[in-house]
Symmetry: C2
Subunit: 156 residues, 2 copies
């Protein structure tokens, strides 16, 4: 078995999320939220050509997540749902509080990207932007029953 590295190099924020939507409203309004991602000005060159994509992945750090207490939780905080492992959910309750969203890219102006569907709080550090491409699209996928009813994560 390969060794699991004990420590990793630190990552840094490439930018930050700006939105007027209060934290508490983010999960519920997820599909309609329009947010800005403000990139470090010195990274603007890295955006070249990104406007040719309709959709992006945003990887962010859920920096206000509480310390991990349990590796299993009830989906939707509903005790009628059987407990599920953190890796089987998109909860922020996870060993590394990484967030991932597929967003619609609405526009890019300088170092400011405007996107729809980013379920990240204002002030969230952004770690990476990646184009969403045909090889990321899988139809006919299988998901568990409890997923469709999980609060704030309704299917489109």
């Amino acid at each position: 078995m390969s060794l699991i590295p004990a420590s990793l190099p630190a990552l840094s924020a490439i930018g930050v999320v700006e939105t007027d939507v209060p934290d508490a409203d983010i999960p519920r309004r997820r599909r309609d939220i329009v947010s800005d991602i403000v990139l470090r000005p010195e990274l603007v060159e890295g955006l070249q050509g990104l406007e040719q994509y309709s959709h992006l992945f945003v990887i962010f750090l859920m920096h206000r997540s509480p310390p991990l207490e349990s590796l299993r939780v009830h989906p939707g905080h509903d005790s009628r749902n059987p407990p599920v492992g953190t890796f089987a959910m998109r909860t922020r309750n996870r060993p590394n509080p990484l967030g991932l969203a597929v967003v619609d890219l609405l526009r890019i102006e300088g170092n400011r990207l405007t996107v729809r569907r980013l379920d990240a709080f204002a002030g969230t550090p952004v770690l990476d932007l990646k184009p969403y491409d045909h090889y990321d699209v899988f139809t006919g996928i299988r998901v568990p029953e409890w997923s469709n009813s999980a609060r704030g994560r309704a299917t489109s």
Copy 2:
């Protein structure tokens, strides 16, 4: 404008990639590669219910990436392609060397997940696993012309 945080908390590896495929063959064989992800044994509980999904996101650290030299590169290392920003590509040449792949989950045995399509070298630290759900699927997306011909990233 929000402040972009100067430093972030360190992340840790939740596991590591095991594969017999040599590094040089990974991009070309991407769609057929079968790899294992070996999780830290103490995190096994976090996998509960994951087997009900057919596809997963794997977020990993491209730990052997060289230091970032340029924010723009020629797709496919082909100078006939116009240079494109690092955020408009899936290249490992990026400020934070995070990798992201949608993989087929083939099986889970204890702390070992077997997956297909993970384009990560043997020994790669894994940072997170997330279920791939209906809200991640967008059809009718727009991508640039150069994307389809980019080496090692052919569409399925």
